[in-house]
Amino acid sequence: MSKMADAYDVIIVGGGVAGFSAAMYCGRLRLKTLVIAENRGGTIMLTNHVTNWPGTKAISGMDLATNIEEHAKEYNPDIVDAKAVKAEKAKEGFSVTDAEGKRYESKTLILATGTTMRKLDVPGEKELENKGVHSCALCDGVFYKEKTIAVIGGSDSAVKEALLLTQWAKKVYMIYRKEKVRAEPINLERLNANRKIEIINNTNVKELVGKGRLEKLVFDKPYKGSTEFMVDGVFVEIGRIPNSELAKQLGAKLNHKAEIVINRHAETSVPGLYACGDVADTLFKQAIVGAGEAVLASYCAYEYLQKGKKG
């Protein structure tokens, strides 16, 4: 009989830093583990230099994600490359169904489902996607050598995207709806020192215009006398939406941002269900935080199973 036929001790949904950190620790705890991953690597893949991972001064996001995945694989979890679309309570705990209709069961469930890029939701955005409108500077910035581009957003991530893009572009505008960008102090220092970046604040983009390719942005108020702003490309970095649909299906408590509410043991409001990483209601979304939550989730799932055995 295939080992896939039996219920797992734990299913981990998500293949990013949190997901594979949980898989690594569940392996150490000798839990029978399945990882269901839509995209192995997750959000950290979009970061060129991770410089806040303790013990490692600098590493690419891709290398960090790969290292964590390889570490987890030392413990031989089953891994399914698929999108998990449905979660239900089952006889022994939980069931998860993937996009191909395959169903898996487990006694506990850890959600490390991460987030999805928030869209601008303005006319032209969908039609011009990857035709001048992008969301990954690391992937697509190279197409804008010596061009004029814009980053929409004012978060720490937006600042990092703008800084990265200056290695190719001749000019990078940051367009932000508020007064002051909000980045970590170290990134603000880098931003202020970079002469290629100019900030257009208190401004919203209300339309992206172009025939087959982005030609200009339309602002909600004039900049240098015009609401039309010519650019070769734009990178949208206006935050992320938590992928908490599975938690919602299971009746777990979500906050006003639709993040999964967890306690300091990474427990959700549903017994046996845990969450970690960017999908959880953690204040500071960083890989190191997600990895820590993942370890807690794994240990608490283990404890939950031990208590069940003692019955």
């Binding site: 690597g41 893949m45 990857n130 990954c136 992937c139 197409f143 490309g233």
Partner: protein, 79 residues
């Protein structure tokens, strides 16, 4: 025996999802050609082939796949 398909990966050295795509093809023992879009010739070519400026782009015979879409690649290769 099925005829071998011509696989081209348009990528860049620093593009993480390009590396993932290449690793996936290698793991599945698929022969492929890499065209680095840091070369302006290939930067232009990938836009002509796919009608857009996002990478990776993987062409499998006449099929064009934008992004590291593992299910689509598997389907196109029949693996």
């Amino acid at each position: 025996m099925a005829e071998k398909k011509k696989v081209i990966v348009y990528s860049a050295e620093w593009c993480p999802w390009c590396h993932k795509a290449i690793d996936f093809l290698k793991a599945n023992k698929v022969e492929f050609e890499v065209r680095d879009i840091d070369n302006p010739k290939f930067a232009t070519e990938v836009q002509q082939v796919s009608g857009q400026t996002g990478i990776p782009v993987i062409t499998i015979d006449k099929e064009v796949i934008v992004g590291f879409n593992m299910p689509a690649i598997k389907k196109a290769l029949g693996i």
